[in-house]
Every structure is written in structure tokens, then in C-alpha cells.
């Protein structure tokens, strides 16, 4: 805090534009300069994501609580919160009924109909929404609209929930994002505050893990483990989904229920 206070002796305030832009396959990520004394004083880091239609911001988590405003567009947001059940589930039957949910064409479809998927809740988002994501919770965004989905995200890096230094750190669970230049040095604890510009995206967390351990831990083929590491992936942190993403989700409007026979509403009917 004392270090931050010393940075808070701001003599004048400037309007700030993003200072760094990272282009990805299906969008761009713009960062405001973390070392700007105004942002340092506030103990925050600000990023703007522009996700093109059918773009997916890869699953990731951050070292600080995150608040996001949807400035434009609509899409989906998923958060994998530890301990929460996978309450969105499809059975074989419901899968066949969900004709409105597009899915990949071809070989996957046949297999898909034999076994459903299940996952945690997925939230629809649109312009004007505020989203809060706790520290360390993996989350992703998908643009299922026709216009770019623009998100402005603030990380409260000075929050007590962040026990690392005040630099923004994003940990990706997929792809091979290459963001800002990384400077490896001492461990990222609080005492190294401000000593280095060390943040953002480089590879995904599987990238540093041994292929053999991944193969064994996940019980998958070595080739799959290799793909987890994403070494030859050049798509960046926002990737294009070939066909529209067909995750399980409730319809936007309630379908009219079939008229129940009148006697069902009458009291005294035996069960």
C-alpha cells in the first residue's frame, strides 16, 4: 500500500487510450498501460476485447477479481466455478429435439446423438450487461451475434483476493496466446510490486506441463495431450469457431406449453 500511495501523488490526470493491441484470428485485445501512474494508483488493469462474430475468447482466468461491461453486441459467457454442478445437460432425446442448436456437420453428429454433453451454466450477455468473475475462476466469451462483441474488463489487481503482485496475469486454458513480452525473473509476489512489467498471455498452462503426465492424467492419446499444449497454434486468444457454437442452453423465449386437459387442474384427481 505504501508503494501505491507514493504513486498516487498524481499532479495531473490525462485521458488514456489503449497502448497495446494484440490481433487474434477472430478479434483483438487492447490493453491500457499498466504502468501508467493513474492506473497504478487505482490498483487496476483495464483491457478491451473486440470479438468478431463467431469468435471465442478462449477459457482463461485472472489473478484478480474481474468486472466486465458489455459495450456492444451480444453473446455467451461461461464460467467454470469449482464445486458447482454441471446443470446444463442434454440427453439423447432432448438432443434430437433441439433442432435449433446447430452443431458441426458430418462425422461428429452421429456420435453426438448417442450421448449428450453436460456442463455448468452458460449465461447470455448483451449490450449493457455487467459481469463479475471471481479471482481464479475460468471463464470464456463467445460472440453469437452479427456485430462485434466489445467487452471492457477491469481487473482489481490491488484487491486482497490477489496475493500476487499488482501486475495483470491472465492464465489461458487453451490455445497459444502470445501477448506482451514476458520477462522472467523473481517470483511474482507482492514484494516485487512494480519491479518489472510482467503480465499477460504467453502460451496456455498446459504448455509447461510434460506431455507424458498430461497423457496419463487425462487418460487421452499422446496426440491429444500435444494439442492441449497448443504449441503450433497461431490463432491468438480469440479464435474463430467454424460452425456456430452449439452449447446446451435454454431457448430465448419460452415455447408455448401444450394445453393440458382440463381435468388435470381439478382438485381431487387421484395421482
Amino acid at each position: 500500500p505504501s508503494q501505491r500511495q507514493s504513486r498516487c501523488q498524481v499532479q495531473n490526470i490525462d485521458a488514456l487510450e489503449p497502448t497495446q493491441k494484440v490481433q487474434s484470428e477472430a478479434g483483438e485485445t487492447e490493453h491500457w498501460d499498466q504502468s501508467n501512474e493513474q492506473l497504478e494508483c487505482a490498483g487496476v488493469s483495464v483491457t478491451r476485447y473486440t470479438i468478431q462474430p463467431r469468435g471465442l475468447l478462449l477459457p482463461h482466468y485472472n489473478n484478480a477479481p474481474q468486472i466486465t461491461y458489455v459495450t456492444q453486441g451480444r453473446g455467451m459467457h461461461g464460467a467454470a466455478i469449482p464445486g458447482c454442478p454441471e446443470t446444463y445437460q442434454s440427453s439423447q432425446q432432448s438432443e434430437q429435439q433441439q433442432q435449433q442448436v446447430p452443431y458441426e456437420q458430418g462425422q461428429g453428429q452421429e456420435e453426438r446423438s448417442t450421448q449428450g454433453d453436460q456442463h455448468q451454466k452458460v449465461r447470455e450477455i448483451r449490450q449493457g450487461d455487467i459481469l463479475a468473475v471471481p479471482v481464479g475462476v475460468a471463464n470464456w466469451f463467445y460472440n453469437d451475434g452479427e456485430t462485434p462483441l466489445v467487452l471492457v474488463t477491469l481487473l482489481d489487481t490491488s484487491n486482497n483476493e490477489n496475493q500476487l503482485d499488482d501486475n495483470r496475469r491472465t492464465f489461458y486454458l487453451g490455445g497459444n496466446p502470445q501477448g506482451q513480452q514476458q520477462q522472467r525473473g523473481s517470483l511474482p509476489f507482492r514484494r516485487t510490486h512494480g519491479s518489472q512489467q510482467e503480465s499477460s498471455d504467453a502460451g496456455n498452462i498446459f504448455n509447461g506441463m510434460d506431455e507424458q503426465i498430461l497423457t496419463e492424467a487425462f487418460g487421452v492419446r499422446q496426440e491429444t495431450a500435444r494439442k492441449l499444449r497448443g504449441e503450433d497454434d497461431n490463432r491468438g486468444n480469440i479464435v474463430r469457431v467454424e460452425n456456430r457454437l452449439g452449447v446446451i442452453r435454454p431457448p430465448k423465449t419460452e415455447q408455448p406449453r401444450q394445453q393440458q386437459p382440463e381435468e388435470e387442474d381439478q382438485p381431487g384427481r387421484p395421482n
Partner: protein, 186 residues
């Protein structure tokens, strides 16, 4: 007064009782955790403790600590340990042996595989209600995500995505796979 309440505060609890394990896998090991719900004074300290036992060649699923650093002291045996942050390379990749300590920073992913002698540790975490997010198994972040997100994130088929989600049904502690099975998978 504060002094009087401290006099009666519970200060001790045993973490090494296998029958009280929070996570147990007869083929892989066990984990006992003490947080502020079990020992309320830890709320004041903002600390908790984890006792882990991994059997020979068993794996503690890759995971990260959401809200705490973890300081691991090895009480017995050794393990291959990898710690990964938001860098290209792991910040630690080596063998961790008895009587050594290692610090796993908050949000950094870690994976441990016990060596032939097994691996036992005590970890102190800098949050009284430290939370772990595994990447493999029934409670994993991977399983919580839609199959198609995994397909697109890793550029894999739906079949591979399904295997990734469901091939391991254990929680946190993973039994070693028989050699023959490993060959089949490879």
C-alpha cells in the same frame, strides 16, 4: 473479553487421520484439509493446511489454487513436480524430495506425480478457505465447460473432447494407469 475468548479457543486439530480424509482414492492416496470451518481460529490468521499422501506413481491432478499461495513441505518420499504460470516455460520442473519446501504461487498450475517411494506432504495455504480448481476429473474446470468450447480451444474432435472430459472420473487424486492401458491410450 478477547483474552478470555482466546483461552477457550480451539488451537489444535489432527490432520493426519486417514479415516477423516476429505479426498480418498484407494489406488492413489488421500488428502486431509483443515480450514477455518474445522478450526475457526484460522479465520483470524487467514491460513489453512493440507495433508496429502500420494501412493507410488499416483498423480495429483493438475490444478491451481484460486485464492492462496501454497507452501509445500515434503514429509516423506519424492515426486516429479511441475509448476506453470503465464509464461512459456514452467517455473519449476524437477524432483521434490523429503525435507524440501516449495512455493506454489496463487493461480499457478501445479501437477505432482509420486515416485517409487510415494509422496507425502503438508501444505500451508495463505487463505483460511483456500479453494482448489482441478483440471482433470469429476470436479474439474474442463468438465464444467461445454464440449464444443474444448473442441475449439484445443482444435480437437468431439470424441477427443469427450474423452478429455470424461476419461477420468476420479477427484483430484489419480491412480496410476497400468502399463498395458497406457500403451493402448498412446
Amino acid at each position: 473479553s478477547l483474552e478470555e475468548s482466546l483461552c477457550n479457543t480451539r488451537l489444535k486439530i489432527n490432520i493426519d487421520n486417514p479415516s477423516r480424509a476429505d479426498v480418498y482414492n484407494p489406488q492413489a492416496g488421500r488428502i486431509n484439509r483443515i480450514n477455518s470451518r474445522k478450526l475457526p481460529i484460522l479465520r483470524d490468521f487467514n491460513l489453512n493446511a493440507e495433508r496429502g499422501v500420494l501412493y507410488r506413481n499416483a498423480i495429483m491432478a493438475p490444478h491451481w489454487n484460486l485464492n492462496a499461495h501454497s507452501i509445500i513441505y515434503v514429509t516423506r518420499g519424492s515426486a516429479q513436480v511441475q509448476i506453470v504460470g503465464n509464461y512459456q516455460q514452467p517455473i519449476y520442473d524437477g524432483e521434490l524430495r523429503q525435507d524440501q519446501i516449495i512455493v506454489v504461487p496463487q493461480n499457478f498450475a501445479v501437477v505432482k506425480r509420486a515416485k517409487d517411494q510415494g509422496f507425502e506432504w503438508i501444505a500451508f495455504k495463505t487463505n483460511d478457505n483456500a479453494m482448489v480448481n482441478p483440471l482433470v476429473g469429476r470436479t474439474s474446470a474442463i468438465r464444467a465447460m461445454p464440449e464444443e468450447i474444448l473442441q475449439n480451444a484445443f482444435r480437437i474432435s468431439s470424441e477427443e473432447a469427450r474423452r478429455l472430459k470424461y476419461n477420468r472420473d476420479e477427484v483430484e487424486l489419480l491412480a496410476p494407469r497400468p502399463q498395458s492401458e497406457q500403451r493402448d491410450v498412446a
